[in-house]
Symmetry: C2
Subunit: 243 residues, 2 copies
Protein backbone atom coordinates (compact mmCIF):
# COMPACT_ATOMS: atom_id res chain seq x y z
CA UNK A 1 0.00 0.00 0.00
CA UNK A 2 1.50 3.34 -1.04
CA UNK A 3 1.24 6.53 1.03
CA UNK A 4 -1.78 7.80 -0.87
CA UNK A 5 -3.72 4.55 -0.46
CA UNK A 6 -2.71 4.67 3.20
CA UNK A 7 -4.26 8.16 3.50
CA UNK A 8 -7.49 6.89 1.89
CA UNK A 9 -7.56 3.86 4.20
CA UNK A 10 -7.23 6.01 7.29
CA UNK A 11 -10.21 8.23 6.58
CA UNK A 12 -12.53 8.80 9.49
CA UNK A 13 -15.23 11.44 9.79
CA UNK A 14 -14.26 14.07 12.34
CA UNK A 15 -17.04 15.86 14.22
CA UNK A 16 -15.06 17.80 16.85
CA UNK A 17 -12.72 20.53 15.66
CA UNK A 18 -10.33 23.08 17.11
CA UNK A 19 -11.61 26.62 16.59
CA UNK A 20 -8.93 27.47 14.01
CA UNK A 21 -10.25 29.08 10.84
CA UNK A 22 -8.82 27.83 7.55
CA UNK A 23 -6.58 30.14 5.61
CA UNK A 24 -8.23 31.43 2.39
CA UNK A 25 -5.18 30.60 0.26
CA UNK A 26 -5.18 27.04 1.59
CA UNK A 27 -8.87 26.64 0.73
CA UNK A 28 -8.30 27.97 -2.79
CA UNK A 29 -5.36 25.60 -3.36
CA UNK A 30 -7.43 22.60 -2.25
CA UNK A 31 -10.38 23.62 -4.45
CA UNK A 32 -8.12 24.18 -7.46
CA UNK A 33 -6.62 20.69 -7.07
CA UNK A 34 -10.09 19.17 -6.57
CA UNK A 35 -11.45 20.84 -9.71
CA UNK A 36 -9.29 18.54 -11.79
CA UNK A 37 -11.66 15.66 -10.93
CA UNK A 38 -13.22 14.09 -14.01
CA UNK A 39 -16.43 15.76 -15.20
CA UNK A 40 -18.78 14.66 -17.97
CA UNK A 41 -17.76 16.40 -21.25
CA UNK A 42 -15.90 18.94 -19.08
CA UNK A 43 -19.19 20.65 -18.14
CA UNK A 44 -18.24 21.16 -14.44
CA UNK A 45 -21.84 21.25 -13.21
CA UNK A 46 -21.19 22.24 -9.60
CA UNK A 47 -20.28 25.00 -7.20
CA UNK A 48 -19.04 25.23 -3.63
CA UNK A 49 -20.38 27.87 -1.28
CA UNK A 50 -18.29 28.65 1.77
CA UNK A 51 -20.45 29.94 4.62
CA UNK A 52 -18.52 32.24 6.94
CA UNK A 53 -21.15 34.23 8.82
CA UNK A 54 -21.41 32.74 12.36
CA UNK A 55 -25.17 33.30 12.69
CA UNK A 56 -25.83 31.49 9.40
CA UNK A 57 -23.63 28.58 10.42
CA UNK A 58 -25.39 28.34 13.77
CA UNK A 59 -28.79 28.21 12.06
CA UNK A 60 -27.59 25.57 9.58
CA UNK A 61 -26.12 23.51 12.43
CA UNK A 62 -29.48 23.46 14.18
CA UNK A 63 -31.48 22.80 11.01
CA UNK A 64 -29.15 19.92 10.01
CA UNK A 65 -30.17 18.06 13.15
CA UNK A 66 -28.10 19.83 15.81
CA UNK A 67 -24.74 18.99 14.25
CA UNK A 68 -22.64 21.53 16.13
CA UNK A 69 -19.59 20.92 13.92
CA UNK A 70 -21.36 22.87 11.15
CA UNK A 71 -20.89 25.99 13.31
CA UNK A 72 -17.58 25.02 14.90
CA UNK A 73 -15.35 23.58 12.14
CA UNK A 74 -12.54 25.68 10.67
CA UNK A 75 -14.54 25.97 7.46
CA UNK A 76 -18.01 24.98 6.33
CA UNK A 77 -19.04 24.51 2.71
CA UNK A 78 -22.25 23.69 0.88
CA UNK A 79 -21.65 21.44 -2.14
CA UNK A 80 -24.15 22.09 -4.92
CA UNK A 81 -24.97 20.77 -8.35
CA UNK A 82 -25.21 23.91 -10.49
CA UNK A 83 -26.74 24.28 -13.94
CA UNK A 84 -26.83 28.10 -13.90
CA UNK A 85 -23.94 28.45 -16.36
CA UNK A 86 -25.69 26.16 -18.86
CA UNK A 87 -29.02 27.96 -18.54
CA UNK A 88 -27.25 31.32 -18.93
CA UNK A 89 -25.35 30.21 -22.03
CA UNK A 90 -28.55 28.90 -23.63
CA UNK A 91 -30.46 32.09 -22.76
CA UNK A 92 -27.70 34.33 -24.17
CA UNK A 93 -27.70 32.29 -27.40
CA UNK A 94 -31.49 32.11 -27.62
CA UNK A 95 -31.60 28.30 -27.67
CA UNK A 96 -33.43 25.90 -25.35
CA UNK A 97 -31.80 24.43 -22.25
CA UNK A 98 -33.28 21.01 -21.56
CA UNK A 99 -32.97 19.81 -17.98
CA UNK A 100 -33.91 16.21 -17.23
CA UNK A 101 -32.94 13.33 -14.93
CA UNK A 102 -29.73 12.79 -16.94
CA UNK A 103 -28.57 16.39 -16.45
CA UNK A 104 -29.54 16.24 -12.75
CA UNK A 105 -27.57 12.99 -12.30
CA UNK A 106 -24.54 14.43 -14.08
CA UNK A 107 -24.70 17.29 -11.59
CA UNK A 108 -24.96 15.01 -8.55
CA UNK A 109 -22.21 12.63 -9.74
CA UNK A 110 -19.73 15.32 -10.82
CA UNK A 111 -20.31 17.42 -7.68
CA UNK A 112 -19.62 14.29 -5.61
CA UNK A 113 -16.42 13.39 -7.51
CA UNK A 114 -15.23 16.97 -6.98
CA UNK A 115 -16.19 16.90 -3.28
CA UNK A 116 -14.31 13.67 -2.66
CA UNK A 117 -11.21 15.11 -4.34
CA UNK A 118 -11.59 18.13 -2.09
CA UNK A 119 -11.79 15.92 1.00
CA UNK A 120 -8.56 14.18 -0.04
CA UNK A 121 -6.89 17.52 -0.76
CA UNK A 122 -7.75 18.74 2.77
CA UNK A 123 -6.94 15.45 4.50
CA UNK A 124 -3.55 15.39 2.75
CA UNK A 125 -2.80 18.58 4.70
CA UNK A 126 -3.76 16.96 7.99
CA UNK A 127 -7.25 18.42 8.27
CA UNK A 128 -10.26 16.39 9.36
CA UNK A 129 -13.49 16.40 7.35
CA UNK A 130 -17.12 15.48 7.75
CA UNK A 131 -19.86 15.45 5.12
CA UNK A 132 -23.22 16.75 6.31
CA UNK A 133 -25.97 14.79 4.55
CA UNK A 134 -28.28 16.26 7.20
CA UNK A 135 -28.17 19.46 5.15
CA UNK A 136 -30.94 17.86 3.05
CA UNK A 137 -33.17 18.26 6.12
CA UNK A 138 -32.40 21.99 6.02
CA UNK A 139 -32.91 22.88 2.36
CA UNK A 140 -35.34 25.70 3.01
CA UNK A 141 -32.90 27.27 5.51
CA UNK A 142 -29.98 26.81 3.07
CA UNK A 143 -32.00 28.43 0.30
CA UNK A 144 -33.06 31.35 2.45
CA UNK A 145 -29.71 31.97 4.17
CA UNK A 146 -27.63 31.75 0.98
CA UNK A 147 -30.35 33.39 -1.15
CA UNK A 148 -29.87 30.55 -3.64
CA UNK A 149 -30.83 31.44 -7.20
CA UNK A 150 -32.68 28.92 -9.40
CA UNK A 151 -30.63 26.07 -10.93
CA UNK A 152 -28.41 25.66 -7.85
CA UNK A 153 -29.14 22.38 -6.03
CA UNK A 154 -27.57 22.01 -2.58
CA UNK A 155 -26.61 18.36 -2.04
CA UNK A 156 -24.66 18.12 1.22
CA UNK A 157 -22.44 20.12 3.53
CA UNK A 158 -18.75 19.67 4.26
CA UNK A 159 -16.96 20.54 7.51
CA UNK A 160 -13.17 20.92 7.43
CA UNK A 161 -10.84 21.76 10.27
CA UNK A 162 -8.11 20.82 12.70
CA UNK A 163 -9.34 17.63 14.42
CA UNK A 164 -10.02 17.78 18.15
CA UNK A 165 -10.85 14.06 18.31
CA UNK A 166 -9.69 10.85 16.69
CA UNK A 167 -12.59 8.41 16.38
CA UNK A 168 -10.46 6.06 14.24
CA UNK A 169 -11.56 4.53 10.93
CA UNK A 170 -14.84 2.57 10.96
CA UNK A 171 -14.60 -0.95 9.51
CA UNK A 172 -16.35 -1.47 6.19
CA UNK A 173 -18.06 -4.38 4.45
CA UNK A 174 -15.65 -7.07 3.25
CA UNK A 175 -14.18 -6.09 -0.11
CA UNK A 176 -15.69 -9.28 -1.53
CA UNK A 177 -19.13 -7.93 -0.54
CA UNK A 178 -18.60 -4.82 -2.69
CA UNK A 179 -16.39 -5.94 -5.59
CA UNK A 180 -18.11 -8.51 -7.80
CA UNK A 181 -16.89 -10.27 -10.91
CA UNK A 182 -19.24 -10.56 -13.89
CA UNK A 183 -22.36 -11.11 -11.70
CA UNK A 184 -23.90 -9.87 -8.46
CA UNK A 185 -24.02 -12.43 -5.62
CA UNK A 186 -27.14 -14.53 -5.11
CA UNK A 187 -29.44 -14.08 -2.13
CA UNK A 188 -27.64 -16.66 -0.01
CA UNK A 189 -24.25 -15.04 -0.57
CA UNK A 190 -25.77 -11.62 0.18
CA UNK A 191 -27.09 -12.90 3.53
CA UNK A 192 -23.69 -14.36 4.40
CA UNK A 193 -21.98 -11.06 3.60
CA UNK A 194 -24.40 -9.17 5.83
CA UNK A 195 -23.93 -11.72 8.66
CA UNK A 196 -20.14 -11.58 8.40
CA UNK A 197 -20.19 -7.78 8.63
CA UNK A 198 -22.69 -7.78 11.50
CA UNK A 199 -20.41 -10.13 13.44
CA UNK A 200 -17.34 -7.98 12.79
CA UNK A 201 -19.15 -4.74 13.63
CA UNK A 202 -20.49 -6.17 16.91
CA UNK A 203 -16.94 -6.00 18.29
CA UNK A 204 -16.54 -2.46 16.98
CA UNK A 205 -19.79 -1.25 18.59
CA UNK A 206 -18.98 -3.03 21.85
CA UNK A 207 -15.65 -1.22 22.04
CA UNK A 208 -17.62 2.04 21.80
CA UNK A 209 -20.10 1.23 24.55
CA UNK A 210 -22.83 0.25 22.09
CA UNK A 211 -23.12 -3.45 22.98
CA UNK A 212 -26.09 -5.06 21.26
CA UNK A 213 -26.13 -2.56 18.39
CA UNK A 214 -25.95 -4.18 14.94
CA UNK A 215 -25.23 -2.78 11.50
CA UNK A 216 -28.24 -4.45 9.90
CA UNK A 217 -30.47 -3.18 12.71
CA UNK A 218 -29.28 0.36 12.02
CA UNK A 219 -29.92 -0.07 8.30
CA UNK A 220 -33.38 -1.48 8.95
CA UNK A 221 -34.37 1.47 11.16
CA UNK A 222 -32.94 4.01 8.71
CA UNK A 223 -34.98 2.77 5.75
CA UNK A 224 -38.18 1.67 7.53
CA UNK A 225 -39.76 5.06 6.95
CA UNK A 226 -39.17 7.29 3.94
CA UNK A 227 -36.83 10.14 4.85
CA UNK A 228 -36.75 13.70 3.56
CA UNK A 229 -39.87 13.27 1.48
CA UNK A 230 -39.77 16.84 0.14
CA UNK A 231 -36.62 16.51 -1.99
CA UNK A 232 -38.33 15.95 -5.34
CA UNK A 233 -40.56 18.97 -4.78
CA UNK A 234 -37.61 21.09 -3.63
CA UNK A 235 -35.23 20.27 -6.48
CA UNK A 236 -38.01 20.65 -9.03
CA UNK A 237 -38.89 24.07 -7.63
CA UNK A 238 -35.21 25.02 -8.01
CA UNK A 239 -35.31 24.15 -11.73
CA UNK A 240 -34.39 20.44 -11.87
CA UNK A 241 -36.37 17.86 -13.82
CA UNK A 242 -36.42 14.34 -12.42
CA UNK A 243 -37.99 12.70 -15.49
Amino acid sequence: MNTIQKLLSEHRSVRKFEQTALDAAEVEAAVAAAQQAATSSNVQPYCLIQVHEPGSRERLAQASGGQTQVAEAGAFFVVCADQRRFRQIAADRGVPYEANLESFLVGVVDASLFAQNLVIAFESEGYGTCYIGGLRTALSEVTEILELPPDVFPLFGLCVGVPAEDPGPRPRLATSAVLFHERCPDEEALREQIAEYDARMATYYEGRGLAGHTWSGGVQRKFMKPQRTDLAEYYTSQGARLA
Copy 2:
Protein backbone atom coordinates in the same frame (compact mmCIF):
# COMPACT_ATOMS: atom_id res chain seq x y z
CA MET B 1 1.15 21.98 -3.00
CA ASN B 2 1.91 18.59 -1.44
CA THR B 3 2.45 15.38 -3.45
CA ILE B 4 -1.16 14.26 -3.06
CA GLN B 5 -2.60 17.58 -4.24
CA LYS B 6 -0.10 17.39 -7.10
CA LEU B 7 -1.50 13.97 -8.07
CA LEU B 8 -5.06 15.37 -8.01
CA SER B 9 -3.99 18.39 -10.09
CA GLU B 10 -2.44 16.19 -12.75
CA HIS B 11 -5.54 14.09 -13.43
CA ARG B 12 -6.38 13.61 -17.08
CA SER B 13 -8.80 11.06 -18.52
CA VAL B 14 -6.91 8.36 -20.41
CA ARG B 15 -8.67 6.68 -23.33
CA LYS B 16 -5.82 4.63 -24.87
CA PHE B 17 -4.35 1.81 -22.82
CA GLU B 18 -1.65 -0.84 -23.10
CA GLN B 19 -3.18 -4.31 -23.21
CA THR B 20 -1.92 -5.23 -19.74
CA ALA B 21 -4.55 -6.77 -17.47
CA LEU B 22 -4.63 -5.55 -13.89
CA ASP B 23 -3.54 -7.92 -11.17
CA ALA B 24 -6.47 -9.12 -9.00
CA ALA B 25 -4.63 -8.39 -5.76
CA GLU B 26 -3.90 -4.84 -6.92
CA VAL B 27 -7.59 -4.29 -7.74
CA GLU B 28 -8.64 -5.61 -4.32
CA ALA B 29 -6.15 -3.35 -2.52
CA ALA B 30 -7.42 -0.28 -4.39
CA VAL B 31 -11.06 -1.17 -3.70
CA ALA B 32 -10.35 -1.80 -0.01
CA ALA B 33 -8.70 1.63 0.31
CA ALA B 34 -11.54 3.28 -1.62
CA GLN B 35 -14.20 1.71 0.61
CA GLN B 36 -13.06 3.92 3.44
CA ALA B 37 -14.70 6.88 1.66
CA ALA B 38 -17.38 8.54 3.77
CA THR B 39 -20.84 7.02 3.43
CA SER B 40 -24.12 8.24 4.92
CA SER B 41 -24.71 6.49 8.32
CA ASN B 42 -22.20 3.85 7.15
CA VAL B 43 -24.82 2.26 4.86
CA GLN B 44 -22.37 1.70 1.93
CA PRO B 45 -25.09 1.73 -0.74
CA TYR B 46 -22.97 0.69 -3.72
CA CYS B 47 -21.24 -2.14 -5.51
CA LEU B 48 -18.57 -2.44 -8.18
CA ILE B 49 -18.88 -5.06 -10.92
CA GLN B 50 -15.68 -5.94 -12.78
CA VAL B 51 -16.46 -7.18 -16.29
CA HIS B 52 -13.81 -9.56 -17.57
CA GLU B 53 -15.44 -11.47 -20.42
CA PRO B 54 -14.08 -9.98 -23.70
CA GLY B 55 -17.35 -10.43 -25.65
CA SER B 56 -19.30 -8.55 -22.94
CA ARG B 57 -16.77 -5.74 -22.87
CA GLU B 58 -16.89 -5.45 -26.67
CA ARG B 59 -20.69 -5.17 -26.59
CA LEU B 60 -20.58 -2.56 -23.81
CA ALA B 61 -17.93 -0.59 -25.73
CA GLN B 62 -20.20 -0.41 -28.76
CA ALA B 63 -23.35 0.33 -26.76
CA SER B 64 -21.59 3.14 -24.83
CA GLY B 65 -21.05 4.99 -28.09
CA GLY B 66 -18.10 3.13 -29.60
CA GLN B 67 -15.74 3.86 -26.72
CA THR B 68 -13.13 1.21 -27.52
CA GLN B 69 -11.30 1.72 -24.21
CA VAL B 70 -14.17 -0.13 -22.50
CA ALA B 71 -12.94 -3.28 -24.27
CA GLU B 72 -9.23 -2.47 -24.27
CA ALA B 73 -8.36 -1.09 -20.81
CA GLY B 74 -6.54 -3.30 -18.30
CA ALA B 75 -9.74 -3.46 -16.27
CA PHE B 76 -13.33 -2.33 -16.74
CA PHE B 77 -15.80 -1.77 -13.91
CA VAL B 78 -19.46 -0.82 -13.64
CA VAL B 79 -20.13 1.44 -10.65
CA CYS B 80 -23.61 0.91 -9.23
CA ALA B 81 -25.78 2.29 -6.47
CA ASP B 82 -27.05 -0.82 -4.69
CA GLN B 83 -29.93 -1.11 -2.24
CA ARG B 84 -30.15 -4.92 -2.34
CA ARG B 85 -28.63 -5.35 1.11
CA PHE B 86 -31.18 -2.97 2.64
CA ARG B 87 -34.12 -4.63 0.89
CA GLN B 88 -32.83 -8.05 1.99
CA ILE B 89 -32.42 -6.99 5.61
CA ALA B 90 -35.94 -5.56 5.67
CA ALA B 91 -37.41 -8.67 4.04
CA ASP B 92 -35.63 -10.98 6.49
CA ARG B 93 -36.93 -8.94 9.41
CA GLY B 94 -40.42 -8.60 7.98
CA VAL B 95 -40.41 -4.80 8.00
CA PRO B 96 -40.96 -2.34 5.14
CA TYR B 97 -38.11 -0.95 3.06
CA GLU B 98 -39.00 2.50 1.82
CA ALA B 99 -37.11 3.66 -1.26
CA ASN B 100 -37.50 7.29 -2.29
CA LEU B 101 -35.51 10.10 -3.91
CA GLU B 102 -33.48 10.53 -0.71
CA SER B 103 -32.35 6.88 -0.70
CA PHE B 104 -31.62 7.04 -4.45
CA LEU B 105 -29.54 10.20 -3.97
CA VAL B 106 -27.63 8.66 -1.06
CA GLY B 107 -26.80 5.78 -3.40
CA VAL B 108 -25.63 8.05 -6.23
CA VAL B 109 -23.58 10.32 -3.96
CA ASP B 110 -21.92 7.55 -1.94
CA ALA B 111 -21.17 5.44 -5.04
CA SER B 112 -19.52 8.53 -6.56
CA LEU B 113 -17.43 9.31 -3.47
CA PHE B 114 -16.28 5.68 -3.46
CA ALA B 115 -15.53 5.76 -7.20
CA GLN B 116 -13.43 8.91 -6.93
CA ASN B 117 -11.44 7.37 -4.08
CA LEU B 118 -10.92 4.34 -6.30
CA VAL B 119 -9.67 6.51 -9.16
CA ILE B 120 -7.15 8.13 -6.81
CA ALA B 121 -6.08 4.74 -5.46
CA PHE B 122 -5.38 3.54 -9.03
CA GLU B 123 -3.77 6.77 -10.20
CA SER B 124 -1.48 6.71 -7.16
CA GLU B 125 -0.08 3.47 -8.62
CA GLY B 126 0.55 5.12 -11.99
CA TYR B 127 -2.54 3.80 -13.76
CA GLY B 128 -4.69 5.91 -16.03
CA THR B 129 -8.47 6.05 -15.62
CA CYS B 130 -11.54 7.13 -17.54
CA TYR B 131 -15.14 7.29 -16.36
CA ILE B 132 -17.71 6.11 -18.90
CA GLY B 133 -20.87 8.19 -18.49
CA GLY B 134 -21.85 6.78 -21.90
CA LEU B 135 -22.78 3.61 -20.02
CA ARG B 136 -26.11 5.31 -19.32
CA THR B 137 -26.81 5.01 -23.04
CA ALA B 138 -26.30 1.25 -22.64
CA LEU B 139 -28.38 0.42 -19.59
CA SER B 140 -30.39 -2.33 -21.26
CA GLU B 141 -27.18 -4.03 -22.45
CA VAL B 142 -25.60 -3.65 -19.00
CA THR B 143 -28.67 -5.17 -17.38
CA GLU B 144 -28.81 -8.06 -19.82
CA ILE B 145 -25.07 -8.85 -19.91
CA LEU B 146 -24.57 -8.64 -16.14
CA GLU B 147 -28.02 -10.17 -15.41
CA LEU B 148 -28.55 -7.33 -12.93
CA PRO B 149 -30.99 -8.15 -10.14
CA PRO B 150 -33.50 -5.53 -8.94
CA ASP B 151 -32.22 -2.76 -6.66
CA VAL B 152 -28.87 -2.47 -8.47
CA PHE B 153 -28.60 0.82 -10.38
CA PRO B 154 -25.68 1.10 -12.82
CA LEU B 155 -24.44 4.72 -12.85
CA PHE B 156 -21.26 4.83 -14.94
CA GLY B 157 -18.33 2.73 -16.08
CA LEU B 158 -14.68 3.03 -15.14
CA CYS B 159 -11.70 2.05 -17.29
CA VAL B 160 -8.33 1.53 -15.59
CA GLY B 161 -5.02 0.57 -17.14
CA VAL B 162 -1.49 1.37 -18.16
CA PRO B 163 -1.73 4.60 -20.20
CA ALA B 164 -0.73 4.44 -23.86
CA GLU B 165 -1.26 8.18 -24.33
CA ASP B 166 -0.81 11.36 -22.34
CA PRO B 167 -3.43 13.91 -23.30
CA GLY B 168 -2.36 16.21 -20.42
CA PRO B 169 -4.72 17.80 -17.92
CA ARG B 170 -7.58 19.90 -19.33
CA PRO B 171 -7.85 23.43 -17.88
CA ARG B 172 -10.85 24.04 -15.64
CA LEU B 173 -13.02 27.03 -14.80
CA ALA B 174 -11.27 29.63 -12.65
CA THR B 175 -11.43 28.63 -8.98
CA SER B 176 -13.29 31.89 -8.33
CA ALA B 177 -16.01 30.65 -10.73
CA VAL B 178 -16.59 27.55 -8.58
CA LEU B 179 -15.81 28.62 -5.00
CA PHE B 180 -18.22 31.27 -3.74
CA HIS B 181 -18.39 33.02 -0.38
CA GLU B 182 -21.79 33.42 1.29
CA ARG B 183 -23.63 34.08 -2.03
CA CYS B 184 -23.65 32.86 -5.65
CA PRO B 185 -22.43 35.40 -8.23
CA ASP B 186 -24.94 37.62 -10.01
CA GLU B 187 -25.74 37.25 -13.71
CA GLU B 188 -23.09 39.73 -14.81
CA ALA B 189 -20.34 37.98 -12.85
CA LEU B 190 -21.54 34.63 -14.22
CA ARG B 191 -21.21 35.92 -17.80
CA GLU B 192 -17.72 37.24 -17.09
CA GLN B 193 -16.65 33.87 -15.66
CA ILE B 194 -17.94 32.08 -18.74
CA ALA B 195 -16.20 34.56 -21.06
CA GLU B 196 -12.89 34.27 -19.18
CA TYR B 197 -13.00 30.47 -19.45
CA ASP B 198 -14.00 30.54 -23.10
CA ALA B 199 -11.01 32.79 -23.86
CA ARG B 200 -8.61 30.53 -21.96
CA MET B 201 -10.02 27.35 -23.53
CA ALA B 202 -9.74 28.80 -27.06
CA THR B 203 -5.95 28.48 -26.75
CA TYR B 204 -6.30 24.93 -25.44
CA TYR B 205 -8.58 23.85 -28.31
CA GLU B 206 -6.36 25.57 -30.88
CA GLY B 207 -3.37 23.61 -29.64
CA ARG B 208 -5.37 20.44 -30.31
CA GLY B 209 -6.37 21.32 -33.85
CA LEU B 210 -9.86 22.44 -32.82
CA ALA B 211 -9.59 26.14 -33.71
CA GLY B 212 -12.95 27.88 -33.42
CA HIS B 213 -14.31 25.42 -30.87
CA THR B 214 -15.61 27.06 -27.67
CA TRP B 215 -16.49 25.65 -24.28
CA SER B 216 -19.82 27.46 -24.12
CA GLY B 217 -20.67 26.26 -27.62
CA GLY B 218 -20.04 22.68 -26.53
CA VAL B 219 -22.21 23.16 -23.47
CA GLN B 220 -24.98 24.70 -25.54
CA ARG B 221 -25.04 21.78 -27.97
CA LYS B 222 -24.92 19.22 -25.18
CA PHE B 223 -27.99 20.56 -23.38
CA MET B 224 -30.04 21.75 -26.35
CA LYS B 225 -31.86 18.44 -26.55
CA PRO B 226 -32.73 16.20 -23.60
CA GLN B 227 -30.32 13.27 -23.44
CA ARG B 228 -30.95 9.72 -22.24
CA THR B 229 -34.66 10.28 -21.73
CA ASP B 230 -35.28 6.73 -20.49
CA LEU B 231 -33.36 6.96 -17.22
CA ALA B 232 -36.33 7.61 -14.93
CA GLU B 233 -38.21 4.67 -16.41
CA TYR B 234 -35.14 2.42 -16.21
CA TYR B 235 -34.19 3.19 -12.59
CA THR B 236 -37.81 2.94 -11.50
CA SER B 237 -38.14 -0.45 -13.18
CA GLN B 238 -35.02 -1.56 -11.25
CA GLY B 239 -36.68 -0.63 -7.94
CA ALA B 240 -35.77 3.02 -7.38
CA ARG B 241 -38.28 5.70 -6.44
CA LEU B 242 -37.62 9.21 -7.69
CA ALA B 243 -40.29 10.93 -5.60
